[in-house]
């Protein structure tokens, strides 16, 4: 018999571990470094409470769309139409709310449904007619943009009713004010308590998972990494939570975003649907031959993207308090860039939700930081482009070396 050279379970050394997981740690380190850099060059403006709030509000829709886009990219496709969907949804929400006077409680679900239909309209051609998604969504991008001009008649509509604006400008009310130990500095106790509770839970869950893994003999990351990672995340989260608490508290959008990030992380890591999307992106033929309806899966991935783009569209429209035909131009590029910076593979099958989220924040912090510094949009684009290229090169370089 020919000798099999594969070795039995060897404990990987810390160096090996770092090498194998350099992508994930690298991304987190990059975000922290970029944040500290801008904190320094902007003389501390970046981390001011009002700016952190802005940062969240400005980037929430990119993050939300990146969740859907990651699934699309993992499935082996691309969606160029999300910017136009954002504009169209903004337009029809304006018509329903402002012109027809419908209540937000009806308009919001209606818009989500319309977004789903727009995704379905594209998913059909990609999944069942096998037209490359690049082409289908390029067509969608033009069609939906055109439709936006048509329904708006080329003119912006606004302002929006208060209840709708709360979608992006509202904050979680401070119902824990009576616990506040220092009312002079802390304006919103809920924010602080929520962040502390979350950090506590994250540490508890992390330790619990490690224990369970140990019992089942599954590999754990070295404790040093776990501890450092937890410490960094906790420090950043607590700091941001504190800063938010000294201003107006937690924006509604932040809550929505956090819930969605948690949901999509769960879907991608634990659900059968998530597993099948990754398998399909890795090898569509083998997945189909394994008895999985890859067409339907692709179709729903696009429907999902449409719904998330619709949500993002309403958030940004509410924020700008006006629906304009030019809304969302170029958003698809920021969203796609966030996914690729976050480590998604252009050939499908690879990518993580948390990566896309960090990727979106890297883009967001750079946008925000450079704006504070007074760098023009010209150089901002140039620098963002180079960062995208560098991030992907880092991936390719690591892969070839390994």
């Amino acid at each position: 018999m020919v000798a099999d050279t594969s070795t039995q379970n060897n404990k990987p050394s810390i160096g090996d571990y770092l090498k194998n997981n350099i992508r994930e740690y690298g991304l987190l380190v990059a975000l922290v470094v970029i944040m500290l850099f801008f904190q320094f060059v902007t003389n501390g403006v970046l981390f001011r409470p009002v700016n952190i709030t802005n940062l969240v509000l400005q980037n929430s829709f990119i993050v939300i769309m990146a969740l859907g886009m990651l699934l699309i990219i993992v499935a082996g496709h691309i969606d160029l139409s999300v910017g136009s969907i954002v504009a169209f949804i903004g337009a029809i929400s304006a018509i329903m709310l402002v012109k027809w006077g419908l209540p937000a409680i009806i308009v919001i679900p209606a818009c989500l449904i319309v977004g789903g239909i727009m995704g379905a309209a594209q998913g059909y051609w990609v999944a069942y007619q096998k037209i490359p998604s690049f082409i289908v969504t390029l067509a969608g991008m033009l069609v939906f943009r055109g439709l936006t001009y048509v329904v708006l008649g080329g003119r912006p509509i606004g302002p929006f009713p208060k209840e709708f604006q709360l979608l992006s400008t509202g904050f979680v009310p401070d119902f824990l004010y009576f616990l506040n130990p220092a009312p002079e500095t802390i304006q919103n106790m809920v924010a602080l308590v929520a962040v502390i509770a979350l950090v506590g839970y994250a540490i508890y869950a992390g330790i619990r998972d490690r224990k369970i893994n140990e019992q089942h003999g599954t590999e754990n990351e070295p404790f040093v990494f776990f501890a450092v990672q937890m410490a960094v995340i906790a420090a950043v989260a607590l700091f941001i939570g504190f800063q938010l608490a000294t201003y107006r508290g937690l924006p509604n959008v932040l809550i929505a975003m956090a819930v969605l990030i948690a949901l999509y992380t769960f879907v991608t890591t634990r659900s059968t649907i998530g597993r099948r999307i990754y398998a399909m992106g890795g090898n569509v033929k083998a997945t189909k031959l394994s008895g999985i309806n890859t067409e339907r899966l692709t179709f729903y991935t696009f429907v999902n993207m449409g719904v998330l783009a619709a949500l993002a569209g309403m958030i940004i429209t509410a924020r700008l308090n006006s629906a304009t035909p030019k809304a969302g131009v170029g958003f698809e590029l920021d969203v796609i860039a966030a996914c690729f910076i976050g480590g998604a593979s252009a050939s499908g099958g690879v990518g993580k939700i948390i990566g896309a989220v960090i990727g979106a924040f890297i883009m967001g912090v750079m946008n925000n930081g450079m704006s504070i510094m007074g760098i023009g949009i010209d150089y901002q684009q140039l620098i963002k482009g180079l960062v995208l290229l560098a991030a992907v090169f880092f991936d390719v370089y690591n892969k070839n070396k390994g």
Binding site: M1, V2, D4, S6, T7, Q8, N9, N10, H216, T218, E219, R270, S271, T272, I273, R275, R276, Y278, A279, G282, N283, K285, A286, T287, K288, L289, S290, G291, I292, N293, G349, V350
Partner: protein
Amino acid sequence: MDNIILEMRGITKTFPGVKALDNVSFKVREGEIHALVGENGAGKSTLMKVLSGVYPAGTYDGEIHYDGEARRFSTISDSEDLGIIIIHQELALVPLLSIAENIFLGNEIATNGVIQWPQTFARTQELLKKVGLSESPATLITDIGVGKQQLVEIAKALSKKVRLLILDEPTASLNETDSDALLKLLMEFRTQGMTSIIISHKLNEIRKVADQITILRDGGTVETLDCHSEDIGEDRIIKGMVGRAMEDRYPPREPKIGETLLEVKNWNVFHQHHRDRQFLHDVNFTVRAGEVVGIAGLMGAGRTETAMSLFGKSWGHKITGDVTMRGKPVDVSTIPRAIDAGLAYVTEDRKQLGLVLINNIKENTTLSNLKAVAANGVIDDRKEARVASDYRSKLRIRSHSIYQETVNLSGGNQQKVVLSKWLFTNPDVLILDEPTRGIDIGAKYEIYSIINQLAAEGKGILMISSEMPELLGTCDRIYVMSEGRIVAELSKAEASQESIMRAIMRSGEKH
């Protein structure tokens, strides 16, 4: 006539783990048609790749003498410059370019990079006339049939001033008329002094045209027969091709055969792409519980297509016929339905069609039956890990854990992961398509043992293989396919390499 144009001496070529060619010698006389025959995997194509420089000098041992001089080809163009042109089985034509563009691709008639279309067309016309084609040089390749495409390839070879033309299975995908035309053309070239080497499975055609026949087996030269000094019959050639002693390469098994599980009747399928061409004709077969049934046949006989069309219509169109499982009709029109009906199909190409290579063993094992390790669409990680670990130890998959990516496994272990995946769907009948291709001998033995064990558990196994000794060593019953039909059904007692080959050859003469 006795001028030796090519002599290859002591050629040895090793791939990681496999000796593809072992001290092969091969001599071709100028102006003859020399046939190179042998079973799949005997080393014919490898030998021709060594000759043409696909495998550059230095990656093999041995010498090549061509035209009286020792040669070392490091690229294909080195050999082409000396007039050695190889036409591969998969034609190397660009479908959406014209005949003229294809013939002069990479060798354009151009001044300063500007193509001279009038000359190109005129030259093409001349070349096409030589090979007996009357098509316009502007015709796109995609618009002409395979037979004519083959002739375009030859015209392309002629444009390069060919002296030694090598054809790898030139008639495999041709009908009889086209094959005859091609063979006639070769004989005509012979009268003009051109030398050809033809690799073919169709022994009747070889007898028609060949001056000498060299037989390869297991990467070594068996013999060279001269067709002019004695009358070489097909049986004589077959004996040379297969005449090897069966070693103890197959684990023993006591078959316990039960009820009929799978029965397929009047299975007719049209070609996936050439939609008016019927590819499978009235295929009928049965698989019983505890039985290992083989399907023998040459490449292109329709074995894989039978399996894939049966498995959720994954191949072909206009599929008609009846499928029953334990006597009851079952619906196999989609892959999930075929799986529910109790079928599993282990594909021929495990890298492209069997595994998600970037995923790990655990994820590949459960892919076909995820719901068995999930509740309400949420995967139970521990249960999944347990299932994967069970199969890993049961099938003895060598890896450092179930979390190893399958791309890093050896061929045999990859195949075991694919088997795990299908066993986890708990099928009644497993279709195994070339289950041991590209796997070393030790792993093959393990795969055979797994097959035996599955049969002992009462499953039906349908095994497609191009390696006849493997079918003879493992199967209780063998169907022989040729040109989309089942042409023979042989019991274990009747089956031998000779009887299988004979069945194929006879059918080839009938159609």
